[in-house]
């Protein structure tokens, strides 16, 4: 009888020990980074705080009146604020800065100790109706403010992600679009003037030496072919994420979130590219110059 009790107690003990060991393993963050991957992230996380800026451009659907960037931002914010389910964390578990509703904060584990992450998420429109927005003076102010944050981030943030229109090569745009009397966007004007893109290039060229930026993501239609070559000339050290083709808004949003998640979980090349669906030219985004 006592042998049976002893056996049972041993069995229970073993089960408890195994459960504890499993729990500990599950909740322990371990980093298995190859040397090149480790070196890359060591550079990205060299400072105590990682600054990340995500900016949504003015996402009109002209010739329709609908403007969607506030809703896309809200969906992204919801993800940022959702509690993490895995110990590695990632793009989750942020707390909103009580001083500034556009800023989200968290601390993440890295091989070099815990690091703070300051994530700023901005949008451009003041409402969902382009026609109303054009009559609202707050729209001009907000567009200019978001543009300013984006351009400053090119120097001051380690990671800058733009999610919006490419304006057929015009570049990032934060204002209601230039349209004709039928409500159609004047793409030729954007293509020719390239105002948004030139503003970017100016900042990137001017602030090259003291820039903190290491990753620039342009989640907008055909951004790889429209902007990559000149961006690489302007800032050869900058890692770029772009789209090969016209990209559906939800795919662009998913890839924006996947980029944030990958960077915060220190994903190495293969899993980062998989998260971005790099091999799918229709839905995916292309990461270049980050690990190579």
């Amino acid at each position: 009888m006592s042998k049976k009790v002893l056996g049972l107690a041993t069995l229970i003990g073993c089960v408890l020990a195994a459960s504890f060991f499993y729990w500990q393993q599950k909740n322990q963050v371990s980093f298995h980074l190859d040397p090149a991957c480790r070196a890359r992230y060591k550079k990205l996380y060299a400072e105590e705080e990682l600054k990340v800026t995500v900016v949504f451009g003015y996402k009109d659907a002209r010739p329709q009146r609908f403007v969607g960037d506030r809703y896309e931002r809200a969906a992204l914010v919801l993800r940022a604020l959702t509690a993490c389910t895995a110990p590695q964390g990632g793009f989750c578990g942020f707390a909103r800065d009580p001083e500034d509703g556009h800023v989200f904060l968290k601390t993440i584990p890295t091989p070099w100790g815990p690091k703070s992450v300051r994530l700023q998420i901005m949008d451009s429109s003041v409402g969902p109706d382009d026609q109303d927005n054009r009559q609202n003076p707050f729209q001009e102010w907000k567009s200019q403010r978001t543009k300013q944050v984006f351009l400053e981030a090119l120097t001051d943030s380690h990671v800058v992600l733009y999610n919006g229109h490419s304006r057929a090569g015009g570049g990032p745009d934060f204002l209601p679009p230039l349209i004709n009397s039928l409500g159609r966007v004047l793409y030729a004007d954007y293509r020719q003037a390239q105002r948004g893109f030139m503003s970017m290039l100016q900042v990137l060229g001017r602030e090259h030496l003291r820039a903190r930026s290491q990753v620039l993501g342009l989640f907008s239609c055909k951004s790889s072919q429209l902007f990559e070559e000149q961006l690489r000339k302007s800032r050869p050290d900058l890692a770029l994420i772009g789209s090969e083709s016209l990209i559906y808004f939800k795919d662009a949003l998913e890839n924006t979130a996947a980029t944030l998640d990958s960077l915060l979980r220190l994903k190495c090349q293969e899993s980062f590219e998989e998260a971005l669906k790099q091999r799918d030219p229709l839905k995916g985004s292309q990461l270049v110059n980050f690990f190579d």
Binding site: F66, R70, Y71, R73, A74, A75, V77, L78, P98, E99, D100, G101, H102, V126, G127, P128, D129, D132, N136, P137, F138, W141, R145, C221, S245, L246, I247, Y248, F249, K250, L282
Partner: protein, 240 residues
């Protein structure tokens, strides 16, 4: 027996879902072309959906199980597949990102407007903090744009919503309605600087707003961004 039935049901459900995703495997390709293609591709994609009328019906029946529900929903909106509306109305609260509400707002016409707006109002009034914030944002935007009032108690609770984006969207009521000046006073004192900025812009723009309130708020403002706006547009009165 029950387990067997459950397994069979699950098997059937997964096969049904797979069929929608895989059979006309081109549906998602065609749907993407509706939104990312040139005019020729858009026309071709529309024609494809017209030639396969069963696809949208199958997609709408399996909406929550699809790999790409947003794309399916956007295609339904673009192609006017209104049969999905009852499903969207019924499951409005469960959809946390607000895409069902956006689709309903896009489908809305004169005949369906009272039902859709009534449902939107019901979701907010039943639990002003209960709806997912992205959903609440769409509901408030739509109701405010069409000047559909919410009850005073709902508004009071929405002004204390934890998301500044939701509080900020209430400004649209102020812009639409002169009788909502007291809402502006509340938003001018919001704890988030971006909400205060929006309110100050409205106060500057709307001629019927008494400038005493923004000036009072500006006199104690600390946030640099808001302070700059205050100094430009609501400077302190020189002391006598």
């Amino acid at each position: 027996m029950g387990k067997l039935l459950a397994v069979l049901f699950c098997f059937h459900a997964s096969v049904a879902t797979a069929q929608v995703d895989e059979t006309p495997s081109s549906w998602s390709l065609k749907a993407r072309e509706l939104f990312t293609g040139d005019e020729a591709k858009i026309s071709a994609a529309k024609a494809w959906f017209q030639n396969h009328p069963e696809v949208l019906s199958e997609l709408s029946e399996n909406l929550p199980h699809l790999k790409d529900p947003h794309l399916a929903l956007d295609a339904m909106v673009a192609l006017g597949h209104r049969e999905v509306m009852p499903y969207l109305m019924e499951h409005l609260e469960k959809n946390t990102d607000g895409s069902y509400a956006l689709a309903l707002a896009a489908f809305m016409d004169e005949e369906s407007a009272p039902r859709v707006l009534g449902r939107f109002k019901q979701v907010l009034e039943r639990s002003p903090h209960g709806a997912s914030p992205p959903l609440a944002l769409v509901l408030i935007d739509t109701l405010a744009r069409l000047n559909v009032p919410l009850s005073a108690s709902t508004m009071d609770l929405l002004f204390t919503h934890p998301w500044p984006e939701v509080r900020s969207s209430l400004l649209q009521y102020v812009r639409k309605n002169k009788s909502s000046g007291h809402f502006l006073e509340t938003l001018l004192q919001d704890k988030d600087p971006h909400v205060r900025l929006g309110a100050l812009h409205a106060a500057k723009e709307l001629s019927w707003v008494n400038v005493a309130a923004p000036q009072r708020v500006c006199s104690t403002e600390q946030h640099p961004l808001v302070l700059t706006f205050c100094q430009q547009h609501f400077p302190a009165e020189p002391e006598a």
